[in-house]
Every structure is written in C-alpha cells, then in structure tokens.
C-alpha cells in the first residue's frame, strides 16, 4: 500500500480513537455523578445537529474557532507558540467595532467598509503579534509567556477603549451599533451564521496552499521541524519568526473582526468566551493538518452549540462541555495513552525502524 495512505490512516484513526476515548471517559464521569450519559450526549447531539437551525448555530460557533485555531496552528508550524490569540482577537474585534461605525458615519460604501475593517483588524492583530515575535527574534524572549501576558494587556486596553472613548449609548459598555448594511451578511435572518464562516474556510484553504506551495511556507515549516537545519539551509530565523507572528496575530484578529461584524454588530466587553484559548485545543486536535483545523473547529463549535442546550433540558451544567473538550485535548496530546488502549497490532508501526538495519 502507498505509504502516505498508511500514515494518513493511522493518524486519523488515532484521532478518532482519542475522540471515542474522551467521550467514553466523560460518559463514565457522568455515570458516577448520576446522569445517563446517553441521554446527555443525545441532548448535545440534538442541540448541535438536530435541526437546520442548530446546524447553523454550530457553524456560527465554529467560525471564531477556525480563525483562532488557524492562528495557533500557523505559529505551531514554525515551532512557535502563540498563546496570544485571545488578545489578538480582542484587538481585532475592537478595531472593527470602531472603524465599521466610523466608516458608516462618513458614508463609505458598505462593501468597502467591510473589506477595510477586515484588513485593519488583520493589521492591528499583526501589530499585536509583532510584539512577542520581535522580542523572541531579537532578545530571545519566551514567546509563550510574552504572548500570553499580552492577552491581559489587550483585555484591559479594549475594556478601557469601550468604556470611555468609544462607548456607545446604553447601560452596558459597548461601541456604537454598526448599521446592518455595514455588517457581514447573514445567510438567514434567524441565525448568527454569517459570511465570516466562508471567510474562515477560505483562510484555511489559503494557509494550506501557503504551506504546500510556497517557498516561504516550506521555510517556515523547516524552521518548525529542525531549527538548526533551517539555519544551515539559509532560513533567516529571526525574520521568519517575526513574519509568523505577524500573520498569526492577523488571523486571530479576524476571529474578533467577524464576531463583531457578523454576530454582534458592536464590540462589547467579554466578546470572547475564551475562543483564543480554544484555538490552542483546535490546533492540537488538527494534528498538523490545515484542514484538521476546520474539522476540529466544527467539532468544538458543535459541542458548544449543543452544550448550551444542557442548561435548558437537563440537570447537567453546560460547563460539562468544557470538561469534554479538555478530555479530547488530553487524549490527543498523549498518543501513548491510546497506544495503551489499542490492541497491539504487530509489525505495522515497527517496520520502518527495522529496515534501517
């Protein structure tokens, strides 16, 4: 059999097994606490896939995760950790909130305004990403810590901006409402699903093509897999580190931008219930595959949308979904755990080492 096939299959089967394992473990957890796991999963499934409305809701919930997941994934390909997607999202969100309203007041055509807002958000997120990238490249700072701490800076900065200078009318602190025509169009009125989802898919495709077909993409991946070999083969690691963080930050910002332009119509405190952090989980689940980001986002989006039903229809709090997501990440991140669960199939995995001699 084609070697590529074998590897693809084993990776997919690992991931599927991890999912089954985490659902099982969480099911047992539910049993212990005294709930019927089948009925709980039933509610979640119905809430996420049961009707065309719930399917659209799942896709809508998946949209920001596609962007934040892709952002973390992008940095991960270079061997870098961007834990700052959450902050970059907020920065992108407030940029769109401010500018979309402003553009509507000066009468810019809606289409132009939307494009400009997306672009400006991307740039703002890129600037936010530049900070850890630059500090890493030139001062050896730990990008993990810097990008994470910048989340707090972003959070409080945005909170200030929306509470004072750009506060719109009303009791809650939010920016001025963006006129409907200046928002990302929705597919149907009743659902929050909007054009942002399509943009997310396009972004996934773009990232896939970038890594597959461009010289820069190759170099970034080389850097992620073997930094020393990358240097020897002529990769300017400093420059690429900064570029990666610019792009990664920009992509994460689009999550905020599409939420503001497509879902809320304004920027509000607590815009994100942790989409940036879920992006890390999405990236882990994606297993190094751009399209894996899409699939993982859809899964998490579905869980979130189905999970919100739990509060209405059962005694189980919707936070159970977070437990389930965490279990998925734990199982994915520890393949040995699956190895232990898996009945050892002789040969297939060890064959290669042996041929070496």
């Amino acid at each position: 059999m084609n070697i590529k096939m074998v590897r693809f299959n084993s990776r997919v089967s690992y991931t599927l097994l991890s999912l089954v394992a985490s659902f099982t473990v969480c099911g047992i957890l539910l049993l212990i606490v005294g709930y019927n796991p089948l009925s709980v999963y039933g509610i979640v499934a119905e809430g996420s896939l049961g009707s065309s409305y719930s399917i659209m809701k799942s896709l809508a919930k998946a949209t920001p995760l596609i962007f934040t997941g892709l952002s973390v994934f992008f940095a991960d390909q270079a061997g870098l950790f961007n834990i700052g997607a959450e902050g970059q999202l907020l920065i992108g969100g407030i940029t769109s909130g401010i500018f979309a309203y402003y553009f509507s007041t000066i009468g810019l055509p809606p289409f132009v305004s939307i494009i400009l807002c997306l672009t400006l958000s991307f740039i703002a997120g890129a600037v936010w990403g530049f900070i850890p990238g630059f500090l890493k490249a030139y001062y050896g700072a730990n990008e993990f810590i810097v990008s994470m701490m910048l989340n707090y800076v972003a959070q409080y900065l945005c909170e200030y901006l929306v509470t004072y200078p750009f506060r719109g009318p009303g009791v809650t602190a939010k920016t001025n409402e963006i006129p409907a025509s200046y928002q990302l169009p929705r597919f149907v009125d009743v659902s929050q699903l909007n054009l942002g989802f399509v943009l997310g898919i396009l972004a996934v495709v773009a990232v896939f093509l970038f890594f597959r077909y461009t010289v820069s993409g190759r170099r970034i991946r080389t850097m992620g897999r073997n930094n020393v070999a990358a240097v020897i083969s002529g990769v300017n690691v400093r420059k690429e580190t900064i570029i990666v963080f610019l792009i990664s930050g920009g992509i994460a910002a689009l999550a905020g931008s599409t939420e503001v332009l497509g879902v809320h119509g304004f920027y509000i405190n607590d815009l994100s219930p942790g989409y940036g952090f879920d992006g890390i989980a999405v990236s882990v689940l994606a297993q190094g595959n751009s399209f894996g980001v899409l699939i993982a986002s859809l899964l998490f989006g579905a869980l979130r949308s189905g999970g919100s039903r739990l509060d209405l229809r059962s005694e189980v709090p919707s936070e159970f979904i977070i437990v389930l997501q965490a279990a998925v990440v734990v199982f994915i991140a520890t393949p040995r755990l699956i190895d232990m669960l898996k009945i050892r199939r002789r040969g297939s995995s060890k064959k290669k080492e042996a041929i070496d001699g």
């Binding site: 077909y213 461009t214 010289v215 190759r218 070999a229 020897i232 083969s233 042996a354 001699g357």
Partner: protein, 503 residues
C-alpha cells in the same frame, strides 16, 4: 565454551524479512564481529538478542540452554549487555551514579555510595579503563563516556557484551586504547559481539567474522586469510571499484579564499587567523580532531557564522556580508558534519529534504511558488541516480539508514552544480558501499573542475582523496602541504598539537 548462540533466527515485518535463518555463536573469551552494510539487518538481530524484538522463527541458546528473551531486563539478567551507538548517560551525574542507576546497592533506604564507588572503581581498575569514578559525566570526553557505557555493562556482570558501532565516535588514538580494553575483556572470558562496518578495525580486533547481507549470513571467516578487499566484496555483494582516476588540469584558479580569517565567540578565537585557498579541480583536505574549529570554518564559508576579522572571498568577491541563502544559490554547497541535526529534517519526506535550502532555485520554483511537478521528477531522478534506498520519495527521511540519509544530503548538494563543495565528515557513520560511492562522487566532482574542501577526522579518507592537506588545531592551521609530504603519523602529530609551526 559457547556462551550464546542464535539458531535459525528469522524476523519479518510484514512482507519484509529483516533476518533470514541466521545462525551464529560466540564463545567465552572471543570477539566475534558482525559485519554488514547499514540496512543489512544487524540492528534487528541485536534487538532480538537484547529482547526488544521476538524472532518470528528460530531460538536463542545461552550456555547451551534455549531461552526466551522477553525484554532488555531479562537480557541483562541472563548476562547480556549492550553498549549502544548513542550514549545513554545522565550528564549531571557522576560516573559511579550513572553506573549504579536503577541498580543501586542499598543500605536501608539509602544508597550505599561508598560500596558503589568501591565496586565501580575496582571494575575500572580491573579492566584498565582508568576512569575517575567521581567525575561528572558531562565533563568527560566522548572516549571516556564510551568507557562509562562499557563499565555500566560490566557492572551488570555480563558474560556477553554487544557493542554497536563502538568506534564511530572515537579518534584513532582512542580506538587503540579501546581495543586494548576489549582484549582485556576477552582475556577475562567475556564473549564480545562487535557490530561494525569498519573493515580495518574488524580485522585488527575480531577473532571470527560473520558477514551479513540483506538479512542473511553470507560468510563466516577468521581474520587469517581475510583482507579488507575480500570482506568488502562479501559485504556489498560485488567487487568494489575503489580506483578512481584523477585528471590534472592547469586551471586551478582559487574559488574560495580565506585571508587571515578569525572568528571570535564567547571571548575566544575559535578560528584564529586562518588563510586557505580552495581551488578549482582540487580537493583541499582539512584534517583535525573534532572540535578544533572545523565546524566554525565551514560555517564561516556558508555564512552561518560571522567573520570577526579577515576576509572571505568567493570568485574574488567579498562575501562577508551576504546571506546564507544567497551563498547557497550562488554555488557554495555544504554537506554538514551532522546530517541528523544539521543536514536533514527527519520529519520531512525524502523529496522535501532533496530541495532543502534550494527551494528558491529556478529548478524548483518560480516567484516563490513551488512547482511540485518538476520537484517530483527531480526527486525520482536523484533517488535512482544516487541509489537512495527508500520506499518512495514520500517516505520520511528519518526512517532511512545513515548511508541513505547521507546520500540525500550529498545528492542535493551535487545536483545543484555548485562551484565549491564544503564536505564535512561526508562519510561518518556511513556503510562501506556508501563510503566508496561518496568518495567516487567527490573525485568525479574534482575532475569536473569543482573546488572541494573536505573536512574529515579520518586520516585515511583525507590521504586518499586530497590534493593538499591542511591540519587544523585549536582554530589555527598548523600545517598545509601537498598530499604525500607527511606520513600519517606526522599528520597525526600535527592533529594533536604535538608538532607545530610548519606552514
């Protein structure tokens, strides 16, 4: 008396037979060598003896009794110890601590350190290892670390010792010392299985030699009546054509010139005023013990390190401030000394690795977009041209044997048609077939007018290939002369700093 024997051992992985009906034995006080190319099945066999794999067919006898070896632990309990090619030591611990790790003598709940120290130093003395048992392993040289590994095996009170390519990392002097220790072990009745592809060494030390090819033992011979040539033929399966004609040209223009180059790092000159000329149609050999500035010199030429003083010219042009990328594309080809760390991305496919560093080349991409169609056909042609043994171009490079990995690196560089080739330890850890092949290629490149700088710690290699030999010691060139002016011993003296000032 026979201590260990393998009887009709076969092992398959799916349709692939890594070992076929292998039968051999080792006696007390005997050194048996298993000689074979990389990929011949030596490692699989050792892993079976060491309990990591179970044979598909056949059985192992220890002291005449059939035994099943289920794990390394069981192997050790049965008196089989193994010294791996890659050391498994903890740098922060002392020699003694490393050796007793996992097997500590106890006094109540505490480790009985004095007893341990006593036992370990007694062993060290007995076999003439001369180790300071209180030294931290991190401070030891490679040769000493190897002795620690050896001591670890002896501490387990083994009767059979398996050594996997033990001399790969040693200098010529260390090899000699190492062999004296092996002889001492032999006198003490240990059965030693030596896995190697180095013919000369095998002939020096082994009592009996088994030649293993494509998973089968193809010959058993004693050292008497065997020669390097005959063994090599048996190993590879056909006669080796080691004679390579050199042609001489008048056009020996300097392509790469170092003038008084120094490189300062951490307050110390790692390269100290080196002047060298790498010329067209010539091979300049740089001999030296590892760590005397060879890596730095090569990386200065490539641009990974910066020149602190002096000048590097390529085709008469100052290249001190050009990027690595531009130097690669302008024809400086580099074969790094450590292919695993510097030359390859193991997680990438063979194909990916074949364009590593050359992605920008017009052969593979235009305007930054890679044309996979042409890369595919290029990769296939290099794989067949350089006889890179892999399932296909999409196999991960990390899954290949050392020799085949090296062929990827060499093929990648040579196919780019560089003007100057910097080959650093190009045959280290590579089997004899590949060594011959790489040597031939280098000479061929020389004859085609390439300028070659060959950096190697292997004096045989240097003397076989070079037109000129420069010896590097402590960041300086201590001797530079035409090949043939100095004997191997004299070059060895230059290399260790025992002789100097003859430039």
């Amino acid at each position: 008396m026979e201590v260990l024997s393998a009887n009709g051992i076969s092992k398959n992985f799916g349709p692939l037979w890594a070992n076929k009906n292998i039968t051999f034995h080792v006696d007390e006080g005997e050194i048996v060598s298993l000689l074979g190319e990389n990929g011949a099945g030596k490692t699989t066999l050792m892993n079976i003896l060491y309990g990591l794999y179970q044979p598909t067919e056949g059985y192992i006898k220890i002291r005449g009794k059939e035994r099943r070896i289920g794990s390394p632990r069981e192997a050790i309990d049965l008196g089989i110890s193994m010294v791996h090619q890659h050391f498994m030591l903890v740098d922060a611990l002392t020699v003694t601590e490393n050796i007793i790790l996992g097997n500590e003598p106890r006094k109540g709940i505490f480790t009985d350190s004095s007893l341990a120290l006593g036992k370990v130093s007694e062993l060290s003395e007995k076999y003439g290892l001369g180790l300071d048992c209180n030294a931290e392993v991190g401070t030891l040289s490679v040769g000493e670390k190897q002795k620690v590994e050896l001591l670890k095996a002896l501490y387990n009170d083994c009767s059979v010792l398996i050594l996997d390519e033990p001399t790969a990392v040693l200098t010529p002097l260390e090899v000699e010392a190492f062999f004296r220790i092996l002889q001492r072990l032999r006198e003490n009745g240990k059965g030693i299985i030596l896995i190697s592809h180095k013919l000369k060494e095998t002939l020096t030390i082994a009592d009996r030699i088994y030649i293993i090819r494509a998973g089968e033992i193809v010959a058993e011979t004693t050292c008497q009546g065997a020669s390097v040539e005959s063994l090599a033929e048996l190993m590879v399966g056909h006669a080796l054509d080691s004679k390579i004609d050199r042609n001489e040209t008048d056009d020996n223009e300097t392509v790469l010139r170092f003038s008084e180059v120094s490189c300062r790092e951490k307050g110390r000159n790692v390269i100290d005023g080196i002047s060298l000329s790498v010329r067209r149609g010539r091979i300049l050999g740089i001999a030296g013990v590892d760590g005397n500035g060879q890596t730095e010199l090569s990386e200065l030429a490539l641009g990974v390190r910066k020149v602190s003083d002096g000048m590097i010219e390529y085709h008469g042009r100052d290249i001190r401030n050009t990027s690595v990328r531009s130097r690669i594309l302008e024809g400086i080809g580099y074969v790094p000394e450590d292919r695993q760390k510097k030359g390859l991305v193991n997680a990438f496919t063979v194909e990916d690795n074949l364009i590593l560093g050359y992605e920008d080349d017009a052969r593979f991409s235009r305007h930054g977009i890679i044309n996979w169609h042409s890369v595919d056909s290029y990769a296939d042609s290099v794989i067949s041209e350089y006889d890179i043994r892999c399932q296909n171009r999409d196999e991960k490079a990390g899954a290949l044997s050392g020799g085949n990995q090296q062929k990827i690196v060499i093929g990648r560089v040579l196919e780019a048609d560089p003007d100057v080739i910097i080959a650093s330890q190009p045959t280290r850890g590579v089997d004899i077939g590949a060594v011959e092949y790489i040597h031939k290629k280098l000479i061929e490149m020389r004859n085609r007018g390439k300028a070659i700088m060959l950096v190697s710690a292997d004096l045989d290699e240097i003397m076989k290939l070079s037109d000129e030999i420069a010896v590097i010691y402590d960041g300086r060139i201590v001797s530079c002369a035409a090949n043939g002016k100095y004997t191997k011993t004299e070059l060895g003296e230059f290399m260790t700093g025992a002789r100097e000032g003859d430039e």
